[in-house]
């Protein structure tokens, strides 16, 4: 009964996204598409943070790596000379070796998933094996952000530096400026989001999902039940990195730019905030958190370009203080109240039920 209802909600939400293009202006649809990319990241963060208790403040890096992989392909596809424009003005004359395979879109898409996963696996393996946890892990992930961003900026001739990669015109021969192409990309994004969501739901419902939650509760205790938390944590961390990578690829296609700023500390923290606002323990909450927070951000900054940061800051504070489980938690507690009211009515003839 409860099972069916939850699934029904998921289906309704999916249908909602599918019909959205009918109601939205092109610009707004573009924004929504971008938010859905963010929602994919948010699902991954909810998995590692809400379910496993790992707070990563470095997911911007994974998002960025995915995006750069796609961006590299787009740059090469768009270049008439075989060299991306920024290399020309940085004085690079031959395409660096690691760029070469990115002429192949299949390779680029594969890399957009594998590269972030690989980094997460390596980093996660060492950090988790060495039992670095909690705040320590969070801050290490920030240090990783600093390293990667500084490198990307410093290696301008290879990466495009602060500018990042932009000026994309076609993808697989289709013009990215074409609104029909953009609509197709929107539906692809919705599809990917649905797959990522379903996969994550399945994961959390599996026994492994319970192990993840047990790790959140007490990692060492999990060891004494015979599980090796390291492998579980590495797995879920890389999975969420892969999600972020996929999201990054879709982002680049639709937004048309990726720069180190998108991998920095600020976006990485904001990603966590989307999830906090939506409800870290709820995957659907995370999806709506990403959409809602970014929607609010766009709205605030359009309406009050001078003080929108204050409004955004207040939003963060208020939600964190008063909705510890985010919007999903709010919905849940309203539901519970409602249920209680109902059951109280039904049982009103009985004396107060006793604990135990």
């Amino acid at each position: 009964m409860k099972f069916n209802r939850t699934y029904a909600i998921y289906i309704v939400v999916l249908i909602g996204f599918l019909v959205a293009p009918l109601f939205l202006q092109e610009f707004r649809l573009g924004l929504l598409a971008k938010f859905l990319c963010y929602a994919i990241v948010a699902i991954g963060i909810s998995l590692i943070w809400g379910y496993t208790g790992i707070l990563s403040l470095g997911h911007g890096v994974f998002f960025g790596l995915g995006a750069y992989c796609m961006g590299m392909y787009l740059k090469l596809e768009g270049s008439t000379t075989g060299l991306p424009d920024f290399m020309e003005w940085s004085g690079v004359t031959t395409l660096p070796a690691f760029w070469k395979p990115f002429t192949n879109p299949v390779f680029a898409i594969g890399a957009g998933i594998i590269v972030p996963m690989l980094l997460a696996t390596v980093l996660g393996y060492f950090t988790f094996k060495n039992r670095i946890r909690g705040v320590y892990f969070s801050l290490i992930s920030q240090a990783v952000v600093v390293v990667v961003v500084t490198l990307f900026i410093g290696k301008q001739d290879l990466t495009g530096g602060t500018n990042g990669l932009t000026s994309f015109y076609t993808f697989l021969g289709m013009s990215l400026a074409d609104s029909f192409v953009q609509q197709i990309l929107y539906f692809v994004t919705v599809g990917v989001l649905a797959i990522v969501f379903a996969l994550s739901i399945w994961l959390t419902k599996s026994r492994a999902g319970k192990v993840l939650m047990a790790i959140r509760d007490g990692e060492n205790r999990v060891r004494f039940l015979g599980f090796n938390p390291t492998s579980y944590k590495v797995f879920v961390y890389s999975l969420s990195a892969a999600f972020a990578g996929v999201a990054g690829m879709l982002f680049v296609l639709q937004v048309g730019i990726i720069s180190p700023a998108m991998m920095g500390i600020t976006p990485s923290i904001e990603m966590v905030l989307w999830v906090a606002i939506g409800g870290r323990h709820s995957l659907l909450g995370a999806v709506f958190g990403a959409i809602f927070t970014n929607g609010a951000k766009s709205l605030f900054s359009e309406t009050y370009p001078d003080i929108w940061l204050i409004l955004l800051g207040l939003l963060f504070i208020v939600v964190v203080l008063f909705l510890p489980n985010g919007m999903a938690g709010l919905v849940q507690s309203i539901q519970n109240k409602f249920k209680k009211l109902k059951s109280r009515k039904e049982k009103s003839h009985e004396p107060d039920t006793m604990v135990r």
């Binding site: 707070l55 403040l57 060492f126 950090t127 060495n130 039992r131 670095i132 909690g134 705040v135 320590y136 969070s138 801050l139 290490i140 920030q142 240090a143 990783v144 600093v146 390293v147 500084t150 490198l151 900026i153 410093g154 007490g218 990692e219 060492n220 205790r221 500390i265 923290i269 966590v272 905030l273 906090a276 001078d306 003080i307 940061l309 204050i310 955004l312 800051g313 207040l314 939003l315 963060f316 504070i317 964190v320 203080l321 510890p324």
Partner: protein, 300 residues
């Protein structure tokens, strides 16, 4: 020889700056477990306080007083930041003691607000603080010039660390602070007023941030986003040193200072930054709880 001395001094000097910006965090983060992302903005408040004091002194007091406005600015920077800290503690942090990671998110909001507020009040561009003349110039030794400003910051850092250590390790309030942070309920059952201790501790941490801000006006920019320049470094120092241990923080700060300047001297600032952060990551793999660890046998 002179370059060796200069670089060693540069390292120590950078280390002392790092120490100043990290000291406040060593309290709010190291002891109180609050991940205060607005720490950088408290530094900013200290810097703007210095600016305002200078403005007031130069427009209302005789010209010769201007040389000494700094003496007034130091305690005021501490005080104003501390008061702001108390306000933040009472309105935001207080609700989050059992949710340290959430404190990160809420204080991120606080930092956005403070930055924008500074922009609205003082304008977006940087403001200039003219350091008093007696801090101009430097002290020459073996061909190297050690600027007075840097010596001054070094002295301020030493003074702060000595004062803070005494406070934390030798006084009852320091002990109470540690107890409250470890187990709030139990501390209160023993008669410790947790609310007071929370406010004191957060005010103290914020005050040190203000002090750092005041010191930074001597060498760096003063603008609404100054805090963002320092916040990550400050956190790195605290975890590198080992959460909750001042000795660790000191070693961490000086270590990073000397390491950064040395690597930068042989490579470039960008590479130095990459290497230093990579080394921090690697070091923590080796010593997961920092230089000076506080592990106990409890299960988690």
């Amino acid at each position: 020889m002179s370059i060796f001395i200069t670089q060693l001094f540069n390292g120590l000097s950078l280390g002392s700056i790092m120490l100043l910006i990290a000291l406040g965090l060593a309290i709010t983060f190291g002891l109180m477990n609050v991940i205060n992302m607005a720490h950088g903005e408290l530094i900013m408040v200290g810097a703007y306080t210095t600016y305002v004091v200078q403005q007031i002194v130069s427009s209302y007091l005789p010209q010769q007083m201007l040389a000494y406005y700094f003496i007034l600015a130091i305690p005021l920077a501490f005080l104003i930041s501390a008061v702001l800290g108390i306000i933040i503690e009472k309105t935001v942090i207080r609700f989050l003691y059992d949710r340290p990671l959430d404190s990160l998110l809420a204080t991120w909001g606080v930092s956005l607000i403070l930055q924008q507020a500074a922009r609205s009040i003082f304008g977006a561009p940087n403001v200039a603080v003219k350091t008093p003349d007696w801090l101009d110039g430097g002290f020459s030794i073996l061909g190297a010039t050690l600027p007075y400003k840097r010596l001054f910051i070094l002295a301020l850092a030493v003074f702060s660390i000595v004062g803070l250590s005494y406070f934390l390790y030798k006084t009852a309030i320091g002990r109470k602070m540690k107890a409250v942070m470890l187990n709030r309920e139990m501390a209160s059952c023993l008669g410790v007023s947790t609310k007071k201790v929370d406010s004191y501790a957060f005010a103290l941490g914020s005050g040190f941030a203000g002090l750092a801000g005041c010191a930074l006006t001597v060498i760096g920019p003063i603008g609404p986003s100054i805090g963002t320049n320092y916040i990550i470094d400050a956190f790195m120092i605290v975890i590198l040193g080992g959460i909750g241990k001042l000795t660790g923080t000191v070693i961490g700060a000086l270590g990073i200072g000397i390491l950064s300047t040395t690597i930068e001297y042989t490579t470039s600032a960008t590479i130095a930054k990459v290497i230093v952060f990579a080394l921090i990551i690697a070091f923590l793999q080796w010593k997961p709880s920092g230089l000076v660890s506080m592990r106990t046998r409890s299960l988690d």
